[in-house]
């Protein structure tokens, strides 16, 4: 029973890291990316092939195989994902309107899927990678124990990334991103070129995605193209929008409830005989919830909370202008 909960929490944390990263792209900066999961996949693959040894199983082929320590592989995964995102940013983000950007990013995701599937020397094609070494190395440990270890690791990393998000949000950098998001003409007119802050946030968000991917693969010790179908990006985006884009609480809510909660619920619920059906019902629920949220509560379940921060931070303002007190929400 404990395993069920820790498993849930680990996967929830990993998904939360992804959505927190996506929140940086879409919530903070308003950059739409329908292929965010690509960065997760890259992070996973790189972490896997740098921590595994050379291929030993007959018929299995992949690059690298460097047997690096798990945390090095993890960080490498994040860095490579970030590097790829720079390339994509350079080609697309500043040049395309939202619907074209959507098409281009999904097309890129399909290409990645196709290439990885077909070009087996890269990541062993459709069969994928197995036996990725656990972070506990040679220690013999039970699945429950490993879950707990991974839970600790992922929770710490999630907390770190949430802290980074908060710092960004409360800083002039965050304010500038919000300004660009709301009306770029205004921020440009006051001396701020848009591309640099956008590129930075893009890189940071993609790095987080790569780390999430690495953690994922270190946890389940296998990875293949079936794990990063383009639809996954849509699920991430949906959970961010439903949870509340523009803030990390909403992101985490979306991740835990929409992605994890619904998935686990349908997986363990005995009512559904056919497992594929459970997945389908979950997707339908997400689709309906998404449309309802967009229609009736577009800011999401937990809206952007700048007001609260300003109330706290504007203490001295209230002191100076006592008349303000009645207007502070």
């Amino acid at each position: 029973m404990l395993f069920f909960f820790t498993d849930l929490l680990v996967l929830g944390c990993i998904n939360a890291i992804m959505v927190v990263g996506l929140n940086l792209h879409y919530g903070y900066a308003g950059l739409l990316n329908f292929a965010f999961y690509m960065y997760v996949a890259i992070g996973a693959y790189i972490a896997a092939v740098t921590t595994m040894g050379s291929p030993t199983f007959p018929g299995v082929t992949y690059i690298f195989g460097w047997t690096l320590p798990w945390w090095v592989g993890l960080i490498l995964g994040g860095l490579v994902a970030a590097a790829v995102s720079v390339v994509i940013f350079a080609f697309t983000v500043r040049r395309l309107r939202s619907d074209y950007l959507a098409i281009v990013t999904v097309s890129a995701a399909f290409i990645m899927l196709n290439v990885v599937n077909s070009f087996t020397p890269l990541f062993d094609g459709g069969t994928g990678l197995f036996n990725v070494p656990p972070i506990t190395g040679n220690l013999s440990i039970s699945s429950e124990g490993y879950s707990l270890v991974m839970l600790a690791v992922t929770a710490v990393i999630l907390a770190l990334f949430v802290w980074v998000s908060q710092r960004i949000f409360r800083s002039p950098f965050g304010r500038l991103l919000r300004g660009i998001r709301e009306d770029e003409a205004v921020t440009t007119a006051f001396g701020h070129a848009s591309w640099r802050p956008q590129l930075w946030i893009f890189v940071i968000g993609s790095f987080m995605a790569g780390i999430a991917g690495g953690l994922f693969v270190l946890y389940i010790s296998a990875w293949n193209p079936g794990a990063f179908l383009p639809i996954e990006s849509f699920f991430l985006l949906s959970s961010l929008i439903i949870g509340g884009s523009g803030n990390y609480w909403g992101a985490m809510l979306g991740a835990f409830v929409v992605i994890e909660g619904l998935a686990e619920l349908s997986r363990y619920s005995p009512t559904f005989g056919n497992p594929a059906d459970a997945g389908a019902i979950r997707a339908i629920v997400i689709g309906v919830a998404l449309i309802l949220v967009l229609r009736y509560r577009p800011e999401g379940l937990i809206p952007e909370r700048w007001l609260r921060w300003y109330r706290v931070g504007a203490g001295n303002v209230v002191r100076r202008f006592p008349a303000l007190r009645r207007n502070v929400p």
Partner: protein, 291 residues
């Protein structure tokens, strides 16, 4: 050389299928100004309806027609319950895009629930392949091309000579102006959704006949190739979409000859990306719907 011409022949078949779907998308985009991400799943839906009715012994042509009508109704429902309320509130394009994604979840997984993920086949054999000069066709291929040409010709007649066609062109040009002239743009939009659904379903059946099997994801994967054809021809320009489909269809088949066919999809997507990056207004110059 003979192989090349053969590939062109296959390309024509692919192009016919694409043309129907691409024209459908272009029509809908031209009057509503956003791209519906659930279109691929409309394709799948139409194919499944046709398949189910054919399974019950209905004549294949009637089955396709029923599939078309059902998809048309689906399109109308999507408009009435989802897209029109959003458009009335003048939301951002992004919102409509994401709503389309939500709709795609619903349709694709609704299909999965009803029909399961098992791939199915149409039990139709339409004769063996034969040669017309250097080209190789099956009767089914010719039928597909014929159907495409026929339907598009009908569409052309409708657009150019009927009152509805004129209303549609006016609405796509400038919706406010059209409304000011007394055109009921809501009705135009509703009928356009129906027509688009109809065409899409026929394309869906054609796709299944070409690919061989049908499963809930069939249409979604095809969606971006369809977008490629639409963009090539100029978004919102149905006639351009026909030409775009021709180019994409032939190119895909021909390139499959020179490059390992496993990468055929990647090439198609790469073409889409390059188009959008460097020539989003399409290959054919002139005024475009894009802003």
């Amino acid at each position: 050389m003979a192989r090349l011409i053969e590939a062109v022949g296959f390309g024509l078949v692919t192009a016919s299928i694409l043309a129907l779907a691409a024209v459908a998308v272009s029509l809908q985009v031209s009057v509503t100004n956003f791209i519906n991400f659930a279109y691929g799943d409309f394709l799948t839906f139409g194919a499944y309806i046709a398949w189910t009715t054919a399974q019950h012994g209905v004549n294949i042509f009637l089955a396709v027609l029923l599939g078309g009508v059902a998809t048309g109704l689906l399109g109308i429902a999507a408009n009435v319950f989802i897209f029109r309320p959003f458009m009335r509130r003048r939301v951002r394009t992004v919102t409509l895009l994401i709503a389309g994604v939500g709709l795609s979840f619903i349709v694709q997984n609704g299909i999965t629930l009803i029909w399961s993920t098992e791939p199915v086949r149409f039990n139709v054999t339409l004769g063996n392949s034969f040669n017309i000069g250097p080209l190789v066709f099956t009767p089914g291929d010719l039928l597909m091309i014929g159907a495409a040409v026929g339907l598009l010709a009908l569409l052309h007649v409708m657009l150019s000579y009927t009152r509805f066609g004129k209303s549609l062109r006016a609405t796509s040009n400038n919706i406010d102006l059209a409304q000011a002239c007394g055109i009921d743009s809501d009705r135009v939009i509703t009928i356009t959704w129906f027509l688009a659904g109809l065409l899409t379903a026929v394309a869906g059946v054609g796709l299944v006949l070409q690919e061989g099997t049908l499963d809930p994801t069939t249409g979604f994967v095809e969606l971006f190739i369809i977008f490629g054809a639409v963009i090539l021809g100029g978004i919102g320009k149905p006639y351009g979409a026909m030409l775009g489909a021709l180019v994409v269809g032939v190119l895909t088949e021909v390139s499959g000859m020179y490059v390992n066919s496993a990468y055929k999809t990647s090439i198609a997507f790469a073409v889409v990306i390059i188009l959008l990056l460097f020539r989003p207004q399409g290959l054919f110059a002139g005024s475009s719907k894009t802003s």
